[in-house]
């Protein structure tokens, strides 16, 4: 190419509208949803205008009714008294025009295209940025619909690529267009060489927007609409009330009451009212986010939806889950509830349920829910034997149940859990079971394991014990198991290392449909 300027940094050619009919993943440049500037920054502008108008109204009322201006200094009064009103209005209008022009230009300059190999976004007026992501490295595609965006029928598409801050954002797209685009990107990424799929009818009309607001979180034509797990209202409320946060809250309240009662200084009680209100809003936000939780299986991975007013709906292609942890806080134990967290190579900037990062894949569920979700996230472990093993990993008290547990001498450092503290190696995965009071089970797919570690410190050496660590990408799940017999650990180290090599060689999930 004789042109010294990289093509992508030039002024973009006229791009077609994103919500126009036809495929978006056709390799051409497309613009985003026209409401984008409004949704991204225009809200703040409107708020500022609103404040000015409200202030002006006070002044206006004062002038009409004839009440004198208050003692306090007011810029509006000063302006009107000095006859600068015309000038100021001119300045405001000029500023507005510049803003609007800037928003328009930035919208025109923000374009994206999706080719067979990669997704590419370019943006910026003065400082141009150009970001490309390879489709076969996609870790997940998230469609986020903030409440305001839902009102105008727009959605934000976020393509997660492995790495810190490596995500490609397409904000905002038409709601139907976003669903359609996700399907096409996943199709391209899956390695199929089929013909272009028939596009879903565009729902850009006014009724489309309304039906979109009311529609279930999973697009009915793409995924089987039924979620495998139903979030029960009572269970959700119960799980929130029985959280560690509640214990902390009660402790604080008790402390405040005790302090007030003993010192007779009731000032403390009032001081804590704002804090209590803040904590209440924490519960409410957790509650509204988890209420419409859904998880379903699609040909292109599992789809997890969250949110009541602002919704988020993410597709994780197969083989993107690096570790799974099923855990049970102590307070949930009488009710038999569990929580599932995962490690993944990328992190969507949008929060999942309950303000937690998007790594919590089941906020609360009973054993049946856990079984269903594990079937989805660990597609390699669906034979009855493996499922039984997973279940024993959760609720068994230990003993000879398929897991290799700590020896009796480990009770010095595993007071209650030594019977249960153990591992199991099954084809395609390694299971680590820990804890008798705070029970948890970690499953690491062998094909995703990065390396294996074997550790022994002076204390473990005296007890002839050792610890094993499975290294995965960073996340909330830390797969390690302490206090197992040293000889057993050495054998397990070799077996796990073998399993990791074999599974990695046989794994084709990064092109999940081409195998």
């Amino acid at each position: 190419m004789s042109d010294p300027v990289p093509k992508a940094l030039e002024v973009p050619p006229p791009a077609s509208r994103a919500s126009a009919s036809g495929r978006l993943a056709d390799g051409e440049w497309h613009c985003l949803h026209p409401a984008t500037p409004l949704l991204k920054g225009g809200i703040a502008l409107i708020a500022i205008l609103g404040v000015i108008v409200v202030n002006l109204r006070d002044v206006f009322i004062n002038i009409v009714i004839g009440g004198g201006p208050g003692e306090e200094y007011d810029p509006f009064v000063w302006i009107i008294e000095h006859d600068y009103a015309g000038l100021i209005v001119l300045a405001i209008v000029g500023g507005l025009l510049i803003f609007i022009a800037g928003f328009y230009v930035s919208w025109r300059m923000h374009t994206f295209r999706i080719t067979d190999e990669q997704v590419e976004v370019r943006s910026g007026i003065l400082f141009r940025t150009n970001r490309r992501g390879r489709l076969d490295r996609i870790q997940g595609i998230n469609i986020v619909r903030p409440f305001l965006a839902r009102l105008v029928g727009a959605a934000r598409l976020e393509i997660s690529v492995a790495g810190q801050d490596a995500n490609v954002h397409l904000a905002y797209l038409g709601s139907a267009a976003a669903d359609e685009l996700r399907r096409e990107i996943l199709l391209l990424a899956s390695g199929t060489v089929s013909e272009a799929p028939g596009g879903v009818a565009s729902r850009a009309s006014a009724t489309g927007v309304i039906s979109d607001l009311l529609a279930p979180e999973l697009a009915p034509d793409v995924a089987p609409p039924e979620s495998v797990v139903q979030m029960h209202l009572g269970r959700l409320i119960g799980s929130l009330l029985l959280s560690g946060f509640t214990v902390f809250l009660l402790a604080i309240i008790a402390a405040v009451i005790v302090v007030s009662a003993t010192t007779r200084e009731f000032f403390f009680l009032f001081g804590f009212v704002p804090a209590i209100i803040g904590m209440g809003s924490y519960y409410v936000s957790k509650f509204t986010r988890s209420l419409r939780y859904s998880i379903a299986s699609t040909p292109d991975g599992i789809r997890v939806g969250f949110g009541l007013l602002s919704t988020s709906n993410e597709t994780l292609p197969p083989g993107r889950i690096h570790a799974v942890q099923v855990s049970q806080p102590l307070l949930w134990r009488p009710a038999g509830w569990w929580e599932i967290k995962i490690n993944r190579a990328s992190h969507s900037s949008a929060k999942g349920a309950a303000g937690q990062a998007n790594t919590t894949i089941l906020p609360v569920g009973n054993l049946a829910d856990v079984r269903k979700v594990l079937e989805l996230v660990l597609p390699g472990l669906i034979d009855p034997e493996a499922i039984a093993l997973l279940e024993r990993g959760l609720i068994s008290r230990g003993g000879n149940d398929g897991f290799t547990n700590s020896p009796r001498r480990a009770r010095v450092i595993r007071w209650f859990s030594w019977r249960r503290n153990g591992f199991a190696i099954v084809p395609g995965a390694v299971l680590l079971r820990r804890g008798a009071i705070w029970r948890d089970l970690v499953v690491v797919p062998a094909a995703r394991m990065q390396s294996v570690g074997l550790h022994q410190g002076p204390l473990l050496r005296r007890l002839r014990l050792a610890a094993i660590r499975l290294h995965t990408v960073a996340g909330p799940v830390i797969p390690r198991l302490g206090a197992i017999d040293a000889d057993v650990a050495v054998h397990a180290f070799g077996d796990v290392a073998d399993a990791a090599v074999r599974s990695a060689g046989a794994d084709t999930s990064h092109r999940w449909r081409s195998a």
Partner: protein
């Protein structure tokens, strides 16, 4: 009883690395001990000497163990993975499949350069893997790097 893998011979790091490790730790020990001695020198109180003295004893033990610690480091190139070991008191073994390699670094500090050694770092997608093989002769390190890259290329796997 120490942990031992029932496999073939370990390739040890160069004995010259003892010097590098010793000098590096000695400099660190001198800095720490002299910094903690400042209160004692200023106040002329005998109690303040307890801290630098105990630190000095710990450092002397650690320095005395340096040759054994360096001998405890080793690595093996197995068919499909690299195994690395280190540690005397706190033993650590790591097995990394070649296909998991994201990149290989070769670092040379000033002390390393003086005796012609390199440090090879094998980076995977997991930060906790932490495979850093110190004390390799420069030629060996480069050969090992090229070999690891070739092995990784032939066994390429997804993330």
């Amino acid at each position: 009883m120490r942990l031992e893998l029932a496999t073939s011979e370990w390739r040890r790091v160069s004995p010259k690395y003892v010097v590098v490790d010793l000098v590096g730790n000695l400099i660190f020990a001198i800095i720490v001990v002299s910094a903690t001695s400042v209160p004692a020198l200023v106040t002329h109180t005998i109690f303040w000497w307890a801290l630098p003295a105990s630190l000095a004893i710990i450092f002397i033990i650690a320095l005395a163990l340096t040759p054994r610690r360096v001998r405890a480091m080793g690595y093996q190139l197995r068919d499909d993975d690299l195994v690395f070991r280190k540690g005397l008191m706190f033993q650590r073994f790591v097995a990394v499949p070649y296909g998991r390699m994201q990149l290989v670094d070769i670092n040379r500090g000033p002390l390393d350069r003086a005796v012609g050694l390199s440090e090879l770092k094998f980076v995977t997608a997991a930060a906790s893997s932490g495979v850093t093989i110190p004390g390799l002769p420069e030629a060996d390190a480069e050969e090992l790097r090229d070999r690891l890259v070739a092995l990784a290329e032939s066994r390429r796997a997804g993330l």
